[in-house]
Amino acid sequence: MRPPLSSHKSRVPRFRVGIFRIASGCALLFLLLAAVPTAAAGGRLQVERLSAAAGSAEGLQLRVLEQEDGGLALHLQVREARLPALEQSLRHIEWSCTIRQLPGICEGPLRLAGRPAGRLALDLATQASADWRQNGRRLHLQQQGGRWQVELTRIPLRWLEALGQTRFGLLVNAGEASGRVQLPAAGRTDWRAELRLAGFGFDSPDGTRAAADIAGRLGIESRGGQFELRARWEAGEALFAPFYLQAPTEGIAIAARFATTGSGLDLRHFEWDDGERLQLQGRARLAPEGEAPSLRLEARSGDLDGLASAYLGGVLGPAGLADLALQGQGQIHFESDSAGLVQFDLQLVAADARDPRGRFALEGLSGGLHWSRQGTVESALRWRSAALYGIALDPAALAFRSHAGRLELKAPAAIGLLGGGLTLTQLAWQPAQAGTVASTRFGLALHGIDLAVLSRQFGWPPFEGQLSGSLPEARYADGRLVFAGGLRMDLFGGTVRIDDLALERPFGVAPSLAADLRFDDIDLAPLTRAFGFGEITGRLDGRIRDLRLLDWTPVAFDARLLSDRHWPGRRRISQRAVQDIAALGGGGLVAGLQTRLLRAFDDFGYERIAIGCVLRDHVCRMSGIARRGEGFLIVQGRGLPRLEVVGFRRDVDWPTLVQRLQGATRPGGIRIE
């Protein structure tokens, strides 16, 4: 409100009225004006304080001047008028009017804090009424059946700025209201309002709750300390972080019944009707700041696609799922209290969830997921088809049980994939409760996964074999998924063990995978054939320690692969494989033989082959069986013609190496000259 210009100290009064106690605030003015005849004939009335249930006024001064034409000129000054129900306070009200005869209408300009504020007319008849107008705005006050009724035309909602700020912490910054308000009858507190809002806007100081250009109808009725609200939101946008919403063209119907309790709000019932998109109803007890509200709601959507695009953008976006495509129907029952989550029961019917970036897809998701803090509840969820990073999962059903606040898989669930299967051996989830953090853990076992299918899926060289194993416990915390246990791949007659698996940001930015791999007795002949890498017979052992893939590309590892010395079979290496290995070393020297001589033989016997690479920072530091002069021995020959392959470049650029490897594994790739 505007600052007071100066304080009007009352001079010596002719009449001094102490404190009036009147039922209705609006009657104040009329009572005062009723004194007009008394004060007529150049009278002056001074009242220090008038108060009533609806408001109070201080420093009232009424002067009445007799006009030459027999009429009266009234001049009213009020130092301050307060309407606590609206948190409203008006200062330095000045109103001058003239009236020809009594009873009649006294009309004249109104000034607030020294500024023009429209015109006010008071009807001093038996049916008293007041009328204020300014630039097309109008406020009409009249008594009807013992109650005061206010008619509003385009009244700025900024007038309620103080009310919005103290009661709701909101800054009302725009909007107009038209309609009718029925004020309480004498001795009562019931009131009702039927309003039309236009261009309504507000903002909270922290910017988390805001609205702009809100238009719609609003009806409120207050009865016995309880409020009934009925509204239709027709236009505009609103933000209740994280939810942002624009009014649909069809509008949204809102209804609520509430009461204020102390410093909180008891929302006894609320309804939100946005057609197919969202039907919501429930109750809530909003405690004063700092305390968790208790809430109970039922939400139903027959159009998850519409729900996601209209309501969930502010939730899915920050979660990195901005473009998640949802479809189908769903409903949720949700309850929470001051201690946290009480229960939720999600039910889906033929729902689809697809990540356009291809990280996951779920189709035909039906059934429920029910968690309760107390007691035991059961639910089951099934899908028609699913995919994870492009790997298709067969239809499956998961049965859940929630017992004492812990949601878990009732029985191991088998899901077919890649010609084999995955068994979800355990899955348990607990939300954050007082004193505990949310935890998710699960375990899985793989069996009979066809590597040929997997290789095709990821565009790898055609591996053959099977993947199986058990990861009995996985923990997810802080964006990191750590697996206990390990996997075993039966590959080309040997085995590969994968241990210490960990995933970081599995569905987030630059997913990373860490693992340790151990190779044992891999048959080199089919392996080299699969890679199109010439041919080597024998068996391969080795390990890749501290493997780290970032965005599914290796960025670090410590690898050492070597032939099995104790393998009793034939150990031969083809001429082509020698060339390819040499090429990998970046023009490594083939010692002991001239290149031309090399070409004269199809294959060679070998004693050992070993190659190591420590990848750090894009550079592969290579090693072999042993140092050999300046270089390192990669292939140690056996028999005649004896062959030795020695590498000389220890540090090789990793991208170049990968390029060479790809070249070598392609028919007609790199050749040494």
Binding site: P205, G207, A210, A212, A241, G314, G320, A322, R505, T656
Partner: protein, 205 residues
């Protein structure tokens, strides 16, 4: 003699403390400086904003005892002196995935974040992340988009800090790296932009 007896364990204890691997603060700062420069683009009126450490981008800060080479982030340039590769600590990010993130951050910065910093809606947090400190300064219709951009940016930043630490084989450096970056974002913030001091209070540069 008794004093010596007491001295020995305390010496041992002190020795234990010094074994801690030294975080290459100067190298990290230089690396962060280049990274941030690449994301934020050439700052307007660079001379007007002195760096808190006192060094300019050309002169190495006095903290650097054994800085042996220039840090590079370019994907093409490969070469390291193999003699130094083993013992010098290395804070570089040349992984394609991280470079992709950096590029995305640069695009997001110029298209979305810079105007929001300019308006005062965003600030640089003291934890190396971006904070939507005053959403009321963003037009209502863009507020959720701004919140999303901030969430995306912070996801990227967390990934970068973590990956630098892990790429150096020192996941425990993540916090130190994050702190280094936090200082660098603030150092390169343009005049008028908001940042959080170490006590968490918001200040305007």
């Amino acid at each position: 003699m008794r004093r010596f007896a007491l001295l020995l364990p305390s010496l041992l204890l002190a020795a234990c403390v010094t074994i801690n691997v030294y975080f290459p603060a100067a190298e990290a700062q230089r690396a962060a400086e280049i990274f941030v420069e690449d994301v934020m683009g050439a700052p307007a009126g660079d001379e007007a904003s002195p760096r808190p450490e006192g060094g300019s981008s050309a002169v190495l800060p006095p903290l650097a005892p054994t800085l042996v080479r220039v840090w590079r982030f370019d994907p093409v340039g490969f070469f390291i002196g193999s003699a130094h590769a083993q013992d010098a600590v290395d804070i570089r990010i040349r992984t394609p995935a991280i470079q992709a993130i950096q590029q995305r951050m640069a695009e997001r910065f110029s298209s979305t974040l810079a105007p929001l910093f300019e308006s005062g809606a965003l600030g640089f947090g003291n934890d190396g992340l971006v904070v939507l400190r005053d959403p009321a300064r963003v037009p209502l219709a863009q507020r959720t988009a701004a919140a999303q951009a901030v969430a995306d940016e912070n996801r990227d930043r967390r990934a970068v800090y973590r990956e630098i630490a892990v790429a150096n084989g020192r996941p425990e450096w993540e916090e130190a790296i994050r702190q280094t970056f936090a200082r660098e974002w603030i150092a390169q913030a343009r005049p008028g932009w908001w940042y959080q001091d170490s006590a968490g209070a918001w200040k305007q540069k």
